[in-house]
Amino acid sequence: MDLIPVLLGVTVLVFSLMYVAPGDPAAILLGIDSTPERVEILRHEMGLDRPFIVQLGLYMKNVILHFDLGISYRTKTPVINEIVSRLPTTIALTFISMAIGVLLGIATGVISAVKQYSWIDKITTIFALFGVSTPSFWLALMFVLVFAVNLRWFPVSGSYGLKYWVLPTLTLGSQAAGIVMRMTRSSMLEVIRQDYIRTARAKGQTEWVVVMKHALRNALIPIITVIGMQTGFLIGGAVLVEAVFSMPGLGKYILEGINNLDYPAVQGTVLVIAFMYIIIMLAVDIIYGFVDPRIKSQFIAKTKGA
């Protein structure tokens, strides 16, 4: 499958990125003790003085065969362990925000499309556009300001209980909802004009069934693609939200890694996130195949014919 070259390519890309980053890892590790001779010895031990291709090959071999993403410069423990311990937080954040966004977005999108040009439509469209245009960290800070500082309904940071999750997921969810809502609205608008909708109405179907069963089902296809792409955006946004709300997830880990020049950590995390994203896109494609009856029938015809 053409997934493999992309995965390999991403690994090369991420490694090259960290390779060109300024700062000598050996010198950083030694810190105050460093003299030119000791730096040289450490570089040789770490394999940093070998040619780029050799280093790249070694790294890729480690990643692919042993899932070994290297040792963190800062904590001297394997990067993969630290990533695994932080992964659940980020995944939970992403998926809950996604769920909120999708539910809100599709609901408002459908209502907007059905009652086009009404005041509901206008207001939700404006809100959706604001949701897309607002920087997520600012929205997060505004939520903190209003809900945590002034109204004292929710706590400001941490992630130790259900209450702590409300603000971060709402922040990310609103942004996702904006995009999903716009896509739903335009997709539904296109579908509603179709002839089969008119037929359904002529048959005497209730409006509810017409909208939900016929229109929405057919409008879902581009929406699913957008949802897939949104996950990638949400993962990136999770970095910012984790920074604002101090949640112990991958986003914060990357930021700490960057600030401490902990290149293996950053490298490994970006790689893991990229892999997850690719797998999600793949899953979206597969779901696509099940949802769209045209693709499904093509698939069935192919397997039967072969």
């Binding site: 053409d2 070259p5 992309v6 390519g9 991403v10 090369v12 890309l13 991420v14 990125l17 960290m18 060109v20 980053a21 300024p22 556009l129 604001f130 897309v132 245009s133 607002t134 920087p135 997520s136 960290f137 600012w138 800070l141 505004m142 903190v144 300001l145 500082v149 990638g232 955006f233 993962i235 990136g236 946004g237 970095v239 910012l240 920074a243 990357i254 930021l255 960057i258 600030n259 950053v266 970006v270 996130i273 990229a274 994203y277 690719i278 896109m281």
Partner: protein
């Protein structure tokens, strides 16, 4: 049209910055620090006593500069790649695989990684934002060029012996411009957002240079008591990106052939 007016207003503000800004963005005045918006300082002052209004005005310059230049760079590289991929079908697979490789990392993450690798500073910021948004332009251009390539006038040009380069420049590019323009308009807003995110994280523009995201980050610790330091840059960011999005949407509605 609202988007267009807002944008023009913003550009004018940015260009006339030295004339209209009441104070220099660097003017520190410790006794007047932490003031809320009042008659002397229309937007109030920040923790160093600098006038926020002036910093906002100078910041608009920075944001616009970053937005326009990074989109320009991105569009240039992306469109070239797209044209090459679509026109020379043999390289299509290779080029698009490389682009897909870049695209499989969420663009915010990619921008963060590139900015971290290159270091801080406005030039590196523009480069980071530019590189992370290349895939969109490549894909859009490739799709547009693929469509235009099959039209009859291109076939006619080819049959009278026009060389490839001329065909691309004179026939294919002008007719594929519409989606690229739409992408670019929306892209400027996006670029400004990414740039402010990076500066918020400390990766882009460093203080004392005024940039709205950095101002937000700087004001964050004082949010409990002096919320104006964070609210004002954020509102500005929101309005600018909103204006650009409205403009882009309007352009898309006007130029989309399906709605004609």
């Amino acid at each position: 049209m609202v988007g267009l007016y807002l944008l023009v207003f913003l550009i004018l503000v940015a260009i006339c910055a030295p004339i209209i800004a009441p104070y220099d963005y660097d003017d520190q005045n410790q006794e007047k620090a932490f003031k809320f918006p009042n008659r002397e300082f229309w937007f109030g002052t920040d923790n160093f006593g600098r006038d926020i209004l002036s910093r906002m005005i100078y910041g608009s310059r920075v944001s616009l500069q970053v937005g326009l230049i990074s989109v320009g760079f991105s569009a240039l590289v992306g469109c070239t790649l797209g044209v090459i991929a679509a026109f020379y079908r043999k390289c299509d697979n290779l080029v698009m695989r490389v682009v897909d490789g870049f695209a499989s990392i969420p663009y915010l993450l990619l921008a963060i990684a590139i900015a971290a690798a290159l270091g801080s500073g406005i030039n590196n910021l523009m480069l980071a934002v530019g590189i992370s948004t290349i895939p969109a332009y490549a894909r859009v251009t490739r799709a547009a060029v693929l469509t235009v390539k099959e039209t009859e006038y291109v076939e006619a040009a080819r049959s009278i012996g026009t060389n490839n380069f001329r065909i691309i420049i004179r026939h294919i590019m002008p007719n594929s411009l519409a989606p690229i323009i739409i992408q670019a308009t929306l892209g400027v807003g996006n670029a400004i957002l990414i740039a402010s995110c990076l500066s918020f994280l400390g990766l882009g523009i460093q203080p004392p240079s005024p940039e709205w995201g950095a101002m937000l980050s700087g004001g964050r610790i004082y949010i409990r008591d002096y919320w104006h330091m964070t609210v004002i840059p954020g509102v500005a960011l929101m309005l600018v990106v909103y204006a650009l999005n409205i403009l882009g949407d309007g352009l898309r509605d006007a130029l989309d052939p399906r709605l004609k």
